[in-house]
């Protein structure tokens, strides 16, 4: 087992290098990162521009930039920077990702990690409750549906989940805002507040969370219900379920202890693969509800070609995906002793 984990960790290292290299190339060709300086009041002259480019190292070949991004430039020979009286030599200050320096945001000029630190909690506040509600409801509904296969309720649940499965999330979001905020006001009811995170009190935060959480659950739930229903049905057809029933066990016992425990195994994989993507936030939902999460941070840095922040978000995600895949495998061997990795 230890050897297996070690091998997986070693295998994921080239993977992360490939990911970072591709992404670095793409994010760096997104557009002129100095365009945001041009927006500011004291617009840089052509020479200032050159100086900024030199100091940021943006005038170098892309491979060299990638190397600097990885291992920093503090060990490199000083860079020539033109000034009014001749040239000045400046030493690089970046330590590189491999030494824990994720770079400075082009926009805020603060370490890009602080941008993530500001936004990640908000994303988690939204994603964790909605994901928990989704999984718990999906297990309940999925089992309910599976043990009544082809009954009225099962057919109803299947059709409704197909319906929501096909809904783009912006449709659910706009409809729910329209009904619960706009129309409620017209009908003289108390409209549900939406947009932003409230005025700082917990009660107001909760109220602002209602609609986005509802939308996220509505969209995610359908897929999970279908998944749990089908894996339950597969297990319920197994011989050992028949044996359990033949032994005279109560139906609830059979479903809970014999069927669900086994049907939950593929669910563990699914959750393990989906969890890291919660960190990415929900781009469209956060946009509609003006929620200051990771999805919006990505779009904002994307629109301003803020390469360091984008790279940080993307690398955090990739590392999370790799780590969670490994964790899923480990949890799996623990849950299912039949599986042995070698």
């Amino acid at each position: 087992m230890t050897r297996y984990i070690l091998r997986r960790v070693l295998q994921s290292i080239p993977l992360l290098f490939i990911i970072s290299f591709i992404l670095f190339n793409f994010t760096n060709s997104l557009g002129d990162p100095l365009a945001i300086y041009a927006e500011s009041r004291n617009r840089p002259s052509a020479r200032d521009r050159e100086i900024i480019l030199k100091r940021l190292g943006l005038d170098r070949p892309i491979l060299e930039q990638y190397l600097i991004w990885l291992v920093g430039n503090d060990w490199m020979p000083p860079v020539e920077i033109p000034t009014d009286n001749g040239v000045r030599y400046e030493r690089g200050t970046r330590r590189g990702v491999l030494r824990g320096d994720l770079g400075i945001s082009f926009v805020t000029r603060r370490p890009s990690w602080t941008r993530i630190e500001e936004r990640l909690p908000w994303t988690l506040v939204l994603m964790i409750p909605s994901y928990l509600i989704t999984v718990v409801l999906a297990i309940a509904i999925g089992i309910f549906s599976a043990v009544r296969q082809y009954s009225f309720w099962d057919n109803l649940i299947t059709s409704v989940s197909f319906f929501f499965y096909s809904m783009p999330i912006f449709f659910v979001a706009l409809l729910s805002i329209y009904i619960f905020a706009v129309q409620f006001k017209r009908w003289g009811l108390e409209p549900i507040k939406w947009g932003g995170t409230g005025d700082g009190t917990f009660a107001s935060l909760l109220q602002h969370m209602v609609l986005p959480v509802f939308c996220l659950v509505a969209i995610q739930l359908a897929g999970y219900v279908r998944f749990i229903r089908s894996s339950m049905l597969e297990v319920l057809n197994q011989d050992y379920i028949r044996t359990a029933r033949a032994k005279g066990l109560a139906e609830g016992e059979v479903v809970r202890r014999h069927a669900f425990k086994n049907a939950a195994l593929p669910l563990v994989t699914l959750i393990g693969l989906d969890l890291p993507f919660l960190l990415a936030g929900a781009v469209v939902t956060e946009r509609i509800f003006a929620w200051p999460g990771m999805g919006r941070l990505f779009i904002e840095s994307f629109e301003r070609a803020d390469v360091p922040v984008m790279m940080t978000i993307l690398m955090v995600l990739s590392v999370a995906v790799v780590v969670f895949q490994l964790l899923t495998d480990i949890v799996y061997t623990w849950l299912d002793p039949r599986i042995r990795y070698s």
């Binding site: 080239p14 993977l15 490939i18 990911i19 591709i22 992404l23 793409f26 994010t27 060709s29 997104l30 557009g31 197909f162 319906f163 499965y165 096909s166 809904m167 783009p168 912006f170 449709f171 706009l174 409809l175 805002i177 329209y178 706009v182 057809n237 011989d239 890291p276 993507f277 990415a280 781009v283 469209v284 946009r287 509609i288 990505f298 779009i299 994307f302 984008m310 993307l314 995600l317 990739s318 995906v321 790799v322």
Partner: protein, 322 residues
């Protein structure tokens, strides 16, 4: 599992018993059997009918309402609710939303289908190469697929779209008297090239298992070329999973286009799509008809495809022996 194999065995023994060697029995191919199962699948038929409806809407609609209606604007009649004259209302600069959902729908459906074709072609090619050549090439291609799967597709597509959809490099073009934004073509490739990974994994695994089969060794020993083996043995064995993922791939492509359009970063004006109509309508929440109708068409299409895809998956499943 044992019950399943038992059933298969008893079924096949029945078939053997009823076979009369003297009679020229015409066998039913697997594919024909699957199609017969599909025709009996009520959900699949419902899905196909939904798709037919959407297809006829954008085709017949464009025969009745000329394209000029969808671009004619009149700010004096902006954001009018549905009326007899404009059944779906008008948008923020007074264009007829009905006409725009027809012409935007054509573009959305076009993007969905062509992006799926790109995805399937690239996925199949990568899967074949990785499976056949193996070694370092296989390792690199599969790591690439893994790498791309570990980033949300929306992020990848956004970045790729910005890099490649440079309006200076690709100007608008005219086709059949209509002006299109070239982003429409770029987006097809961006969506296709960010979604080939699953198909390539399926094809690769089929290649790896097929290579070990005796009939492939036999084919090789009588001198069949690699291409013959690919087209006679490998591809037919991937057909079922490829058809299923192609069907669902259309839905995924239409949804991704809609999300990009909704964020205002997808296909650019003057080309309408269901997605970018939604993007414009996002700021006009009170004018429900503005966002409601394009969203309904996205939903109907995606739902139709999902029903059909689910039916196809059941129909191709060798375990359902009906």
């Amino acid at each position: 599992m044992t019950t399943q194999t038992d059933r298969i065995q008893s079924k096949s023994s029945e078939r053997v018993l009823t076979l009369d060697p003297k009679q020229n029995v015409k066998g039913v191919s697997n594919f024909a059997r699957s199609m017969r199962r599909l025709r009996k699948h009520r959900m699949a038929i419902f899905g196909a009918l939904l798709l037919l409806f959407v297809f006829l809407y954008v085709v017949i609609g464009s025969l009745i309402i000329p394209e000029s209606v969808s671009v004619y604007n009149d700010p004096r009649r902006a954001l009018q609710p549905p009326s007899a004259e404009h059944p779906f209302g008008t948008d923020v600069i007074g264009r007829d939303i009905l006409a725009r959902t027809i012409y935007g729908g054509q573009v959305s459906l076009f993007i969905g289908v062509t992006a799926m074709l790109v995805q399937i072609l690239v996925g199949t090619a990568v899967g074949l190469i990785a499976g056949y050549i193996g070694g370092v090439v296989d390792f690199l291609l599969m790591r690439l697929a893994e790498a791309m799967l570990s980033i949300p597709q929306l992020f990848l597509a956004l970045i790729a779209l910005r890099v490649f959809a440079d309006p200076a490099r690709f100007p608008d073009f005219t086709f059949m008297g209509r002006r299109f934004s070239s982003t429409m073509i770029v987006i097809v490739f961006v969506i296709g090239l960010t979604s080939w990974m699953r198909v390539s994994r399926i094809v690769r695994s089929v290649v790896l298992s097929i290579r070990e089969q005796e009939y492939v060794t036999a084919a090789q020993s009588i001198g069949a070329s690699n291409w013959r083996i690919i087209f006679r043995h490998v591809l037919p064995n991937c057909a079922a999973p490829i058809i299923v993922s192609a069907t669902l791939g259309v839905a995924a492509a239409i949804l991704l286009e809609a999300y990009l359009g909704f964020l205002g970063l997808g296909v650019r004006a003057p080309t309408p799509t269901w997605g970018n109509i939604m993007g414009e309508a996002n700021s006009y929440l009170d004018s429900w008809f503005y966002w409601f109708f394009p969203a309904v068409f996205i939903m109907l299409t995606v739902m139709g495809i999902n029903f059909l895809g689910d039916g196809l998956r059941d129909a191709f499943d060798p375990r359902s022996l009906k």
